[in-house]
């Protein structure tokens, strides 16, 4: 019944596929209520169409008065690199707590070696078998990304205040120059970000890292 209401709406506004429309027309042939609704609503739509908007008044915006040009550009330029530094620091802290060793090589990128058990190996003792993890590499990467985004957001808020003060000081200076500077900075940082993200895409011990995030999704972030 109300299912027909929904279909009727889609039929009235031509959002049904040809096949669905045909099936609804079959129903229409046997249902007087839908027939009446359809006829009424078609008349109603004609009535509604009478209310057209003839002319749009001129919309003028005074944007210059707001904290605009340099400020926005500058704001976007700044945080990326610093955010990443903070994210990396937080990641190291978390990893340290879980017996993870992380190293960074300019050529090889980030490297993780991790285990949920103490590293001290007892000679002759059977090695604990790694627990199977049901996470794919994509899921791990997604988890890392989420963590980074969250850190970025927090850092943003702290920085906003500082940047506002800085922007106030700079506002009187040449804005175009400011924007140029900001854009160059930002481009560099975005390249750097892409590079780092690539590296994050290939952690060497995916499964253990996955477990870390899985078991303690909130630690440090």
């Amino acid at each position: 019944m109300s299912d027909h209401h929904e279909q009727l709406m889609e039929y009235l506004y031509q959002e049904l596929s040809p096949e669905e429309a045909r099936r609804f027309e079959d129903h229409l042939g046997t249902c007087e209520m839908c027939q009446k609704d359809l006829a009424d609503f078609r008349r109603l739509r004609q009535a509604l169409a009478a209310w057209d908007v003839e002319e749009v008044p001129h919309i003028s915006l005074t944007i210059d008065g707001s904290p605009s040009r340099g400020w926005l550009a500058l704001w976007r330029a700044f945080p990326i690199w610093m955010r990443l530094v903070t994210a990396a620091a937080a990641a190291m802290l978390v990893l340290a707590l879980f017996n993870v060793q992380m190293s960074y090589h300019p050529q090889k990128g980030f490297q993780f070696s991790a285990s949920l058990w103490p590293r001290a190996e007892l000679p002759g003792a059977p090695q604990p078998k790694p627990r199977p993890v049901g996470l794919t590499e994509e899921q791990v990467t997604a988890l890392i990304r989420t963590a980074i985004t969250q850190t970025q957001r927090e850092t943003n808020e702290q920085m906003a205040a500082q940047l506002q003060a800085l922007a106030a000081k700079l506002r009187s200076e040449n804005e175009r120059l400011l924007i140029q500077m900001a854009n160059t900075l930002r481009q560099e940082q975005e390249e750097r970000l892409a590079e780092l993200e690539d590296q994050l895409g290939q952690p060497s011990t995916v499964s253990t890292l996955a477990e870390l995030f899985w078991e303690e999704p909130n630690s440090g972030y």
Partner: protein, 181 residues
């Protein structure tokens, strides 16, 4: 090729503030149409349209690009309209602002037309807010049910049933009068 809305947002954020003007020109008619029909009042609609674009501009960096720009814009637009209606309700300023009716007797059809518009305007205004917005978005803005659902953050089926209920109520108000159409 034409810039997409999202590209223009990016350009604006990159410091090319003039680019925002393209967005305003592209959307002002739709946004004004929405505001006018939601508020039923010319001056309110004009002021609110300005407010909408300013709000969009000031919050541009919050636009994450996970939804379409237009959905985000409509969401802001509806919010601004809602606020304006609330202010209006507090001020108890009568919303009745009849459009100028030509006195010239030869413009008889024009008078008739104005009367028709007035009837629609009143009927829509009498509807509950939730239904009115869906009818306006569907009928006048030509949005799909999926788009409406995204803007209002409701299930698509809810968008459809709201429209049905709205039209059903409107039918009582508009079609009850014989020859009103």
């Amino acid at each position: 090729m034409e810039w997409t809305d999202e590209q223009i947002v990016q350009r604006t954020l990159n410091g090319e503030v003039e680019a925002f003007g393209i967005l305003v020109r592209r959307w002002e008619k739709k946004v004004y149409g929405l505001a006018y029909r939601m508020l039923g009042h010319y001056e309110d609609a004009r002021d609110t349209t300005q407010e909408i674009f300013l709000t969009v501009y000031r919050n541009l960096r919050k636009f994450r690009g996970d939804a379409k720009f237009s959905s985000w814009l409509y969401r802001i637009a509806l919010n601004c309209c809602h606020n304006r209606l609330r202010e209006r309700a507090l001020q108890t300023v009568p919303l009745d602002e009849s459009p100028p009716v030509p006195v010239d007797a030869s413009a008889h059809s024009q008078v008739e037309r104005q009367q028709k518009i007035e009837r629609v305007r009143r009927a829509l205004r009498a509807l509950p807010y939730e239904m009115r917005q869906v009818i306006i978005m569907k009928e006048y803005e030509g949005l799909t049910f999926k788009e409406i659902a995204e803007i209002l953050n409701i299930p698509v089926s809810t968008a459809k049933t709201r429209l049905y209920t709205g039209l059903d109520q409107l039918r009582e108000r508009l079609l009850a009068v014989k020859d009103a159409l």
